[in-house]
């Protein structure tokens, strides 16, 4: 049975009297890649900072690896790796010096040279942080999160501003971290990233948890599918809108465009077969997680 790495119940936080987190509740299993998504100001960064003990909470219960971050901050630090949203290193600090410093701070639990080799930083050891590319910096940050062999890492908008190649490379590194047995909490705006990496995603909006589940569940629960197929005449699509779950039906230039609930796809195909229409190009287009989340945040979903 999967054990729980994080348990958050009714988390509350206000800044200057304004609630920024209001009753947030979720749990993260060990070895899970758990995404936290939402618009700017939704409360994502505040949530992960509270989970790491970097900020206090105003209410609710939080348990991270069996510890309360507000009370057991020091003990928790030894178990966590962290990449914060807005953090950097001094420009003149070299990669080798950085790894050595952070390894020392973590009690020399890992050999920093081995870590450099593992994260392909060996050729960069003498380079100052300020001269590193975005991808190289992220590789260094990821290596630093692993410097204490953490059971749980927090990665806050790790791939923001990276080019597509560096982003994909970073994704592989995150998956590698999980494969080593580390639980990963990933704060991201990027729904491609969440869909590709995360086992589950929590969506925050105005400090409240809107939904939490596997990406495919979020898409299924909150999205609709689009179905496209060729029909010889417009009469072929007449009456399709009466099938339960089918929404808009349009006929443009010999092609039918249908918006439908996922559960309506099979009845729709059955109806076409009943009409002796068997379009070879019958295509179901699943919405992306981004479509689903945007739709959810815009309040388009039931």
């Amino acid at each position: 049975m999967q054990t729980t790495a994080i348990e958050v119940h009714d988390l509350q936080k206000t800044y200057g009297g304004q609630p920024v987190l209001d009753g947030v509740t979720f749990a993260v299993g060990e070895r899970e890649i758990f995404g936290i998504a939402g618009r700017n100001g939704a409360g994502k960064t505040t949530t992960v900072e509270i989970l790491q003990g970097l900020r206090g909470r105003d209410g609710g219960r939080v348990e991270v690896l069996g510890l309360d971050p507000a009370r057991d901050r020091k003990r928790l630090r030894r178990l966590l790796g962290s990449q914060l949203q807005t953090s950097a290193l001094p420009d003149r600090l070299r990669v080798g010096e950085t790894l050595r410093l952070f390894a020392r701070l973590a009690g020399d639990r890992v050999d920093w040279r081995a870590l450099a080799a593992e994260w392909r930083l060996e050729d960069l050891l003498g380079k100052p942080f300020g001269t590193l590319s975005g991808g190289q910096r992220q590789r260094l940050f990821l290596a630093l999160t692993m410097v204490n062999e953490p059971r749980l890492v927090f990665l806050d908008e790790l791939t923001q501003g990276l080019d597509p190649v560096a982003r994909r490379e970073t994704w592989q590194l995150i998956e590698r971290a999980r494969d080593r047995g580390t639980t990963v909490v990933l704060v991201t705006h990027d729904m491609d990233e969440a869909e590709r990496l995360c086992d589950r995603v929590a969506v925050l909006h105005d400090g409240r948890l809107v939904t939490c589940g596997r990406p495919v569940e979020l898409v299924t629960a909150t999205g609709t599918v689009r179905v496209r197929f060729s029909v010889p005449t417009a009469s072929g699509v007449e009456g399709l809108a009466r099938i339960p779950g089918v929404g808009e039906v349009a006929y443009v230039g010999g092609t039918a465009h249908v918006t439908a609930a996922p559960c309506a796809v099979v009845p729709l195909a059955g109806e076409l077969a009943r009409r002796s229409l068997a379009p070879a190009d019958f295509t179901v287009i699943r919405p992306s997680l981004q479509d689903a989340v945007v739709s959810l945040l815009n309040g388009d979903q039931p």
Partner: protein
């Protein structure tokens, strides 16, 4: 403690790579000493309290790197760390902001010692080291001046919104403390109002010059420095509690 021990050598290395700080701390003070002592020569006048100007500027130049390192080097480094999230990154690894500030203050103090030695090393073969009237008082004056200015530097580093702002404010503070402190024109040459201002500012220079040349006791100067140190401590306490402090 591990954090402080690990961080201090790193901070020293980083500051040693900052050319602005190195020039201000190690090149500017001996250069100014060589020029000013050379310009005013050895003729004692009332402006120099009837002291040999060469001796005056050797003693006064000891205080210059103290002001430069504490009000330009330290705040820029600290404000830069806050601005770029280095403090938060280190905090996430178990190093508290207090430890980072302590490491920076220790490194600044170590560099002050090296910079003072540099000034004396340049003075020795050129104008010579003047006779020290009250050695213990010089140690007290230098220590009090350095501590007060380190505290003011930390307060400035916590208050400034960015490293550039810290540099601008630090430079604005540096020149009055240097010039009115007696690093440029001697206090004896200043008019009444400027003399009063000079007596009220936390410059490290009078606390070194006066006991070195046997001009006056340290009492008033120490009281002024203690007052500024108290203000700086109060400011640090208040600034460190702000959410924007880290």
């Amino acid at each position: 403690m591990t954090g402080l021990l690990a961080l201090t050598p790193t901070e020293l290395r980083l500051l040693a790579r900052d050319w602005t700080v190195l020039v201000f701390a190690f090149v500017f003070p001996p250069l100014v000493m060589l020029i000013l002592a050379g310009v005013f020569g050895t003729q004692a006048t009332v402006g120099f309290f009837w002291q040999n100007p060469e001796h005056y500027y050797v003693a006064a130049s000891i205080g210059v790197p103290v002001i430069a390192l504490t009000l330009v080097g330290l705040p820029v480094a600290l404000a830069g760390y806050r601005e770029r999230g280095v403090l938060r990154r280190l905090e996430a690894s178990g190093v508290t902001p207090v430890q980072v500030i302590a490491a920076q203050a220790m490194v600044t103090t170590a560099l002050v010692v090296i910079a003072v030695a540099t000034v004396l090393a340049v003075a020795l073969p050129t104008y010579g080291i003047p006779h020290v009237a009250h050695p213990a008082q010089i140690v007290a004056g230098l220590t009090a001046g350095t501590l007060t200015l380190v505290l003011l530097g930390v307060a400035l580093g916590l208050a400034a919104p960015s490293a550039r702002a810290a540099q601008a404010i630090g430079l604005l503070a540096f020149f009055p403390l240097y010039l009115l402190g007696g690093g440029g024109p001697p206090k004896g040459a200043m008019t009444g109002v400027m003399h009063q201002v000079a007596d009220a500012i936390p410059s490290a220079i009078p606390g070194i010059v006066d006991p070195w040349l046997g001009l006056s006791g340290l009492g008033t100067q120490l009281a002024v420095l203690a007052g500024w140190a108290a203000v700086a401590l109060a400011a640090i306490t208040w600034l460190a509690r702000r959410p924007a402090a880290v």
